[in-house]
């Protein structure tokens, strides 16, 4: 049976010479065919981890298996496409010629260059020198280079970084398209909405540690019901007696119930029957932002 795990790390750690612990015992597992979001604030250790996975940085301790091989192994690298941090190309050469250089290094037929230019919609501007490209075009060329090997694993490090809103939307659509089928995409980002929109599973890293790894849905937590009612104290007491105080909490003047939203009709009628005025009653879902800040211990808006 084919191995379902494309990336597996065990205690992956990087401590730099100056004593800075950039990545601390990361245990990551990326499954075949999924789009995996590697989420964390700037400086959390995302890029260092990805650099270790593609063999650019040696771990201080721990191991990793990427596409079936240790990081940096030529056999494994032949199956991985990557764009780590800003795309690096020769500014005096055209986008097309740059891709041909990369194709030569990767032993890929030059016919593939035109195919990937088409995928990233850069064909019409492929003759221009890379040094004249906009940030969005540079990112697209970087993705095109990563696709040259038609890789089973695509590692993209903050691919929407520096793009304007339209460019970000286009890049996200491109990544979604690329991630169709059996290809695995490992995407790092500090943008919660991006991960929510694109990814199947997510790993959250904070201060070098992987604090959780789950599906986006699991991370968002159980569904609930949000109630705004007056008088609020009376409503709280009634709901606590109905569902138990463990699942009822107060938040910004509203009441939050960890219960199936299908019971909203019953909740409403009981509140109204008790003479409580209900101004809002709706299904409630924890935002990824909330989950993220809860997990990382970061303060919202800080």
């Amino acid at each position: 049976m084919e191995n379902m795990t494309v990336v597996e790390t065990n205690g992956l750690t990087k401590r730099y010479g100056n004593g800075v612990l950039a990545v601390d015992s990361v245990e990551m597992s990326v499954r075949r065919g999924e789009v995996y979001g590697f989420l964390g604030p700037n400086g959390a250790g995302k890029t260092t981890t990805l650099r270790m996975l593609v063999g650019l940085i040696r771990p201080s301790s721990g191991t990793a298996t990427v596409a079936g091989y240790p990081p940096g192994d030529p056999a494994g690298m032949a199956r991985i496409g990557s764009l780590v941090e800003a795309p690096g190309f020769y500014p005096y050469m055209s986008g097309r010629e740059n891709l041909k250089v990369v194709a030569d290094f990767a032993s890929v037929n030059h016919k593939r260059v035109e195919e990937v230019l088409d995928i990233v919609e850069l064909t019409s501007r492929a003759g221009r020198k890379f040094g004249t490209y906009s940030t969005g075009m540079k990112q697209r060329l970087g993705v095109a280079a990563a696709l040259l090997k038609d890789p089973e694993l695509l590692i993209l490090d903050e691919p929407t970084s520096g793009l304007d809103p339209q460019g970000m939307a286009e890049m996200r659509k491109l990544i979604k398209d690329i991630g169709q089928g059996n290809r695995t995409v490992l995407l790092s980002s500090h943008l919660l909405t991006e991960v929510e929109q694109i990814c199947d599973r997510v790993g959250v890293i904070s201060r070098g540690k992987l604090v959780t790894q789950s599906t986006v849905q699991e991370l968002l937590g159980e569904e609930g019901v949000l109630v705004r009612a007056q008088p609020v104290d009376h409503a709280y007491e009634l709901l606590a007696s109905m569902f138990g105080s463990a699942v009822v909490s107060r938040q910004d003047g509203a009441i939050r119930l960890q219960t199936d939203p299908a019971g909203s009709v019953e909740i409403n009628s009981r509140l109204v029957a008790a003479g409580i005025g209900v101004s809002e009653l709706r299904p409630f879902e924890r935002s990824l932002e909330e989950a993220f800040f809860q997990l990382t211990g970061e303060k919202q808006g800080s």
């Binding site: 650099r51 940085i57 005096y92 030569d104 290094f105």
Partner: protein, 272 residues
């Protein structure tokens, strides 16, 4: 290795630095021939005596040696520093190292293509020197006769070795410093000032007792090798203290040593 050589050649074949250097090396040869021709015809114009006989085709190998060091060598250092250092500043090091070939394969492919470019520059130097000597001979009504093929081959080999060794200094500095501008600055200061001062100081110690140490420096050996290409047409000259064979061995050892040290750095260090 073939894949990395193909990639390195593709990115360097039209690289402005190499194209400009080709033009500069050609211009230097033309300038040297032009100035020497003028001084040979107008001996009162300067205090340096130049014989027209040195400018004819049979002496062209000896004549072009003057362009090898320090001018050609300085250019080779600049090129080496640019080729190696810019890979870091442009972020292309990570692009190439994540394609499949290992770090050492990528590095040696780069060295092979760089050495090939040094050979191209050497051939341009010789071709323009030969053409300039034919022009002088034609204008002066002198018969056109060429040096023996083996002498031309030795001359090409000598200049290539001097270019390659100095280029390797630039390459190694580019890898060490990971920045082209700083690497070429350090390289030029070393070859044009530090080494000359160091050799002068060492040679002056204890009545020249440590001259053998000074004779181990790149510049001394490059100069000795190039000066070994001379003939009676150039007048009397002092015999260099380093033999041509020894100079070739020392320079070859420098080339190999610098390439290996840089390879070790590339293999060991993180690419950040």
């Amino acid at each position: 290795m073939i894949a990395t050589i193909k990639g390195e050649w593709r990115k360097n074949r039209f690289r402005p630095a190499f194209l400009v250097s080709s033009g500069i090396i050609g211009a230097i040869v033309v300038l040297v021939y032009g100035v020497n021709w003028y001084q040979a015809l107008h001996p009162a114009a300067g205090d340096r005596q130049v014989s027209l006989l040195t400018l004819y085709p049979d002496q062209f190998v000896n004549s072009v040696m003057g362009a090898g060091f320090p001018l050609g060598a300085a250019m080779a250092i600049v090129l080496g520093a640019l080729i190696a250092g810019s890979e870091y500043s442009w972020g292309t090091m990570k692009t190439t190292l994540t394609q499949g070939p290992g770090r050492l394969t990528t590095w040696f492919g780069r060295v092979v293509v760089f050495a090939a470019w040094m050979a191209i520059l050497t051939l341009i130097l010789f071709a323009i020197g030969a053409a300039a000597s034919v022009v002088v001979a034609s204008f002066e009504g002198h018969a056109i006769a060429w040096p023996a093929a083996i002498d031309i081959a030795k001359g090409i080999g000598a200049i290539w070795l001097v270019f390659a060794v100095n280029g390797a200094i630039g390459l190694a500095l580019g890898v060490l410093i990971r920045n082209s501008a700083a690497a070429l600055g350090v390289g030029l200061i070393y070859v044009l000032a530090v080494e000359i001062l160091a050799v002068g100081f060492i040679d002056s110690l204890n009545g020249g007792a440590y001259r053998w140490i000074g004779n181990l420096f790149v510049g001394q050996n490059a100069t000795a090798l190039l000066q070994s290409f001379t003939s009676p047409a150039f007048g009397r000259s002092l015999a260099p203290s380093i033999g041509a064979e020894q100079a070739v061995l020392v320079l070859a050892a420098y080339f190999a040593g610098l390439v290996i040290v840089a390879a070790a750095l590339i293999r060991q260090r993180d690419v950040t």
